[in-house]
Amino acid sequence: MKSDLPASDKAASLQVERVSAPSAFSGFLRAVAAIIWKDLAAELRSRELLSAMLIFALLVILIFSFALDLDARTRGTVTSGVLWVTFAFAGTLGLSRSMATEKDRGCLDGLLLAPVDRSAIYFGKAIGNLVFMLIVEAIVLPIYSILFGVNLFNLGVLLIVLLGSIGYAAVGTMLSAMAVQTRTRDVLLPILLFPLAIPVLIPAVKATEGFLTGAEMANIWPSINLLLAYDVIFIAVAFMLFDYVVEE
């Protein structure tokens, strides 16, 4: 017990704890994990975000099936595009709602007061948003497969869905943190996000289509490389700029 130690030993042990470098990083990780846990726990109880995203995604797919009058043949070529537009729209919903509840309940201010690196907040929120997107996608993919008879249980497709969602969530979290501080909030996020998300959507659609039609890997690699490049670049840029988004 620390209280049993003589004063000098206590000071020395305290000093060692504060100075060692690994604990700073693990503090960072703990902060990120805490934020993710908070979001997931809150969502588990109310399920309002996930249900909204899910129902919206299914509605979008329904509208597409009527609007495009998908017969068996065209479905094959159009599936990839329909899926990604659905994910983009549902993702936008999740991103803006997630940040909005944060701001409205004063949680954001609370997080900012906590003695953690601002970027921990970014990573925590971004990973939380990513998890929500992935959950919705995990439900939409089988439903789409069953409804339209297109086999989406393709490892390649799942990989692309993951990579694309990572990039989308990375940029989306950054932009929703900005949009939530403006007057026009929910309306503004899609306007800000979609132009910047084009380098995710185009390769994602191309690669998904490639995997679904059984194209050669040589044709699909460029898309995967672009997705990886986008993910890495934007996570790095967001990490550098997030401080400026939340500073007061």
């Binding site: 940029v171 403006t182 026009t184 306007i191 084009i198 672009l226 700029l241 400026y244 988004v245």
Partner: protein, 234 residues
């Protein structure tokens, strides 16, 4: 507003004169192109507009980074000015580009989705989003910060967007006719054409500086007005 500097008035006159000369050169000095005829003359101002648009974007990026690093509001004024000018000139580029494709190669807008032109169109959308973002924020500091961040994010997107669209086009090759847009670089140019071309680039650069200066002055006035308004209403 501070009195208009003498130098700016001189620059205005010089710009006007140079522009008149450039127009004259495009119509009378440059020869008629063999395959495309009169329509080809658009090329001189189309490329020059694209050049000014890109220049504006680069200036906006530098100004944005400088604002975030230094916090001096004057960089924000420069950034907005550069974005607005770039917005206009990219629009001219896109419009002239599509008109050129339609007339020279009889292509619809969709068929003419050439990577550079499509990227310019997306940059235009980034600017529109930028304007909307700024409009939605009342606090000048926050507006400047977010503007700078969005410009930086937008700039990073550009090369990735260009590569994505090129990817799109390469997998589904559209059957172009002879002298397709992608053969732009292959257009054989005589020396008169080169002269006209480089002179146009030069004139448009001067025009850019002139417009930027004017717009910065306007921006400074606007920010002074805003500061007064904030003082009065608080």
């Amino acid at each position: 507003m501070d009195t208009k500097p003498r130098l700016l008035t001189i620059l205005d006159i010089i710009t006007g004169v140079l522009f008149a000369i450039a127009v004259g050169m495009v119509f009378f000095y440059a020869p008629l192109e063999a395959t495309m005829g009169e329509v080809q003359r658009v090329f001189y101002f189309h490329v020059s507009s694209a050049w000014v648009g890109s220049l504006g974007f680069a200036v906006a990026l530098v100004a944005g980074i400088l604002y975030l690093v230094k916090g001096d509001r004057k960089w924000d004024v420069v950034e907005v000015a550069a974005v607005e000018i770039s917005l206009v000139f990219f629009f001219i580029t896109i419009a002239s580009g599509y008109i050129w494709s339609a007339l020279a190669w009889h292509m619809t807008v969709w068929q003419a989705m050439e990577p550079r032109l499509a990227t310019a169109a997306i940059v235009e959308l980034v600017y529109a989003a930028y304007m909307l973002l700024r409009q939605g924020i009342e606090d000048p500091d926050r507006r400047a910060r977010f503007g700078a961040i969005y410009v930086i994010l937008g700039f990073v997107t550009v090369p990735l967007t260009f590569l994505s669209i090129r990817l799109l086009r390469s997998i589904h090759p559209v059957l172009f006719g002879p002298g397709s847009p992608n053969a732009q670089g292959d257009m054989a140019m005589t020396s008169e054409m080169y002269t006209t071309f480089f002179f146009s680039l030069f004139v448009f650069s001067v025009l850019f500086v002139d417009l930027l200066w004017h717009r910065i002055r306007l921006g400074r006035l606007a920010s002074q007005v805003e500061q007064l308004r904030l003082k009065v209403t608080h």
